[in-house]
């Protein structure tokens, strides 16, 4: 068993857990966490695809794609969290007034 196979299967399992929970959890913050787990699972598969048995160096293109993905994901996360905060503020106003 080589590391790429082990971590590829782990990445798939993480993706599956995120996919299942994103569709079944009620709290918005948990759904965002579940979607982030999906993204990490997908990143695992890209990194595994880039892996070569050392001493051969890994393929840098998937690595660059995942770095781009991480930055896009933190951007999406920040917007989602701002929306969750806004919804919470509006709900609080509605229940107060």
């Amino acid at each position: 068993m080589s590391p790429d196979l082990i971590y590829g299967l782990a990445g798939l399992a993480v993706f599956g857990i995120g996919f299942f929970r994103a569709l079944t959890l009620a709290a918005p913050l948990r759904r965002v966490l579940a979607l982030k787990l999906c993204a990490v699972g997908a990143s695992f598969l890209l990194i595994v695809a880039a892996y070569r048995q050392p001493p051969v160096t890994a393929d840098a293109v998937p690595h660059a794609l995942v770095i781009t993905g991480i930055v896009v994901m933190v951007s999406a996360m920040a917007v989602a969290l701002a929306l969750i905060h806004r919804i919470a503020v509006l709900e609080r106003e509605r229940s107060d007034g």
Binding site: V14, G16, I47, T57, V71, V72, H85, R86
Partner: protein
């Protein structure tokens, strides 16, 4: 070799267990802390898969900055959750769907050719002309620079969206105690050096604009928490300039080299390294400012408004 196999299997099992625990944790705060641990373990796994650049980015941005954003949001919305539970038939149906999708992906993964030739030969053949010696930086800032420009645009769009959505003043964050404030005083200068080093090192070894920017963004977040820096409305113009600078300089350089026989993004080989370093330096500062602004979560408001909200 066998010891490493045991390590890999243990880490893979820990990752799957942590992923489950993040979403099963009773308390949202515990979920966020487990998520940060999961991010760091992911970075460790990616080091094992010979992807140190991505591991650095995941540890700094995926676990660090994302964790800070989550904790800040949790403080703002409070940890209370609705008692709403998913009906059992939906759980079973979605569970079956998730199992089917995951096993389909698993079959595709196991059938796919492993360790097949990718683009590494093309990367190595053109590395001398790219202006940098590190393949990942060459891909990010030269071969696929257009992707990276779009990524900087996405980050810019995120801060625009966050500033537009969250305008409500909020309770001030509690002051850090003397121990934390002292830690910030010691850690800040060291972290600035680490961030700048990561940026510089990116040309020849793992590191680069995104990792360096994330570390400098963490510096700014620590400065915000320690009240070493208090955002004021007068700083808005500077902040907007900092958010836009990365996109603007990147786009100007990319378009600027595209005259005569050259296309946009086609740096002249002699100027490739200085141009890439210029783009990386400005993008690093832009990323740091943007990540800190995303953490702060709103436009800086006049001091009076904040005092009003604290009552």
């Amino acid at each position: 070799m066998d010891a490493m196999l045991v390590f890999d299997v243990a880490l893979a099992l820990a990752l799957v267990g942590l992923a489950w625990a993040v979403l099963a944790a009773e308390d949202l705060f515990a979920a966020v802390v487990l998520f940060i641990v999961f991010g760091l373990m992911t970075a460790l796994a990616w080091v094992r898969l010979a992807a140190p650049d991505v591991a650095l980015a995941e540890a700094a941005i995926g676990a660090g900055v994302t964790g800070a954003l989550l904790l800040a949001t949790l403080r703002r919305i409070g940890g209370a959750e609705s008692a709403e539970t998913t009906p059992r038939p939906v759980l079973i149906g979605v569970g079956a769907l998730a199992a089917a999708v995951t096993s389909g992906l698993g079959a595709a993964f196991l059938a796919a050719p492993a360790q097949g030739p990718g683009l590494e030969a093309a990367i190595a053949a053109n590395l001398a002309a790219s202006g940098v010696e590190h393949p990942v930086t060459a891909v990010l800032l030269n071969y696929r620079a257009y992707d990276t420009l779009m990524e900087v645009v996405v980050l810019f769009a995120a801060v625009v969206a966050v500033w537009s959505v969250a305008q409500a003043p909020e309770p001030a964050t509690p002051l850090l105690g003397p121990l934390h404030a002292g830690f910030a005083r010691v850690a800040l200068p060291a972290a600035v050096v680490v961030g700048a080093y990561l940026l510089w090192a990116g040309a020849t070894m793992p590191g680069g604009a995104f990792q360096g920017g994330a570390v400098l963004g963490a510096v700014a977040i620590l400065a915000l928490l320690a009240r070493d820096y208090v955002p004021a409305p007068a700083h808005r113009a500077w902040a907007r300039g900092a958010f836009l600078a990365g996109t603007a300089v990147f786009a100007l350089v990319a378009a600027g080299v595209g005259f005569g026989p050259r296309m946009a993004f086609e740096y002249p080989p002699a100027l490739a390294k200085p141009l890439i370093l210029l783009i990386e330096a400005v993008v690093t500062l832009s990323i740091a400012a943007t990540l800190a602004a995303l953490f702060f979560g709103r436009e800086p408001e006049p001091l009076g408004v904040e005092v009003e909200a604290r009552k």
